[in-house]
Symmetry: C2
Subunit: 212 residues, 2 copies
Amino acid sequence: MSETGRSTRERILQAAGKLFYGEGIRAVSVDAVAEKAGLTKRTLYYHFRSKDDLIAAYLEIRDQPNLALFKRWFAEAQGDVAAKVEAIFRNLARSARHSKWKGCGFLRTSVELVNLPGHPAMVIGRAHKKRVEDWLCSVFEEAIASREARQLARQIILLMDGAFAVVLLHRDPTYMETAGAAAARLVRGMVSTPRKSIKAAKIGRTIRPRIG
Amino acid sequence: MSETGRSTRERILQAAGKLFYGEGIRAVSVDAVAEKAGLTKRTLYYHFRSKDDLIAAYLEIRDQPNLALFKRWFAEAQGDVAAKVEAIFRNLARSARHSKWKGCGFLRTSVELVNLPGHPAMVIGRAHKKRVEDWLCSVFEEAIASREARQLARQIILLMDGAFAVVLLHRDPTYMETAGAAAARLVRGMVSTPRKSIKAAKIGRTIRPRIG
DNA sequence: TTGTGTATATTCACTGGTCAGTATACATAA
DNA sequence: TTATGTATACTGACCAGTGAATATACACAA
């Protein structure tokens, strides 16, 4: 892999990323990706065996950064676990207000490949969602039992992916904040660390102008 | 519209419904729909002006029955509002266990048409989701304030659509029940009708073997 | 230094196939 | 006859993937 080779591959992936995320994998032709990358389709096929390979690579490179972003938002947020979870949704809402935002690429790709469960992109998508869930689970396990942490993590994931879908459908980012409020409420209902923090959570809830 | 005309139209819609829902609107060609309906493409184009029209009609005829099903599940369930909402999810989980289940057709179509917000099918999809939300809202309004009812309805919708997406991705219907548990928990947290039912809800929560 | 071989990287032009939609004609019933 | 409904056969555009040739860069021998 020479220097030019690597940069070419990256240019292709960048073009593919913008187009696949922006318009969907089926709506975008290989020709369109090649043109956006400023090279010939044949060159693209030198670096990627097939369109399916390209789709898989497009998701693959988004896996780690995406999870890292969640972790960063969580770590940088103030307050208890519930507030930190809610901060993730608040940041997602901010993202969703950008005009180029088109929901979750993993979820959308999985919808477009609904009848190809073994497709590499589907495998990557499932692994990504699982990784986010596992991370949330590990966070909750510091406060509650393992089985309950798993359930809670799944509920947060459900709210998040629901928000991805609903915000995209209605083009209304406030649903993301509604999801965040629900998530915080669920967390507070489960993670009541020792004893007095139940009261603390209640106070926190009362102060909020938003419901949930 | 003669008798044959109507039945032909219905045959087309039935074929389109199975194929569009089963494989996605972009993956299914008009030729495929015509063949499944047992007629030629030209005949199909006599009854529908375009593929987009057919897609819109495919969703249109699913709007009312879908909502009616939710209402029936809710009405036939035993227990308080929370239990009735949870029953909807339980029924959805049962549906999701069928091999032909492929999530929510409205949501999936909206993903496939992500860059065509004015597409008739998108308008229908948004209206459908809105109708379900409004119905849930009206149910909650019998117990709590209007603004809180709206928020709660949206949170249930978020869980439901999240479950549609996640169950489809992982092919694991238990997420639907997890979503139902979260929904019930959220409802119980808000709909504590007069005064003592707060305690009742807490007891109910403790008894449940499932978390949430 | 110069020539030669080899692997990498890229281009142009093409194939076989699919797709949405249509031109035209035919049939049947009011 | 005219309106409705159906069929055959077609168009033009697009699309994933390929064949064959070429360009570039580097290694090593003369």
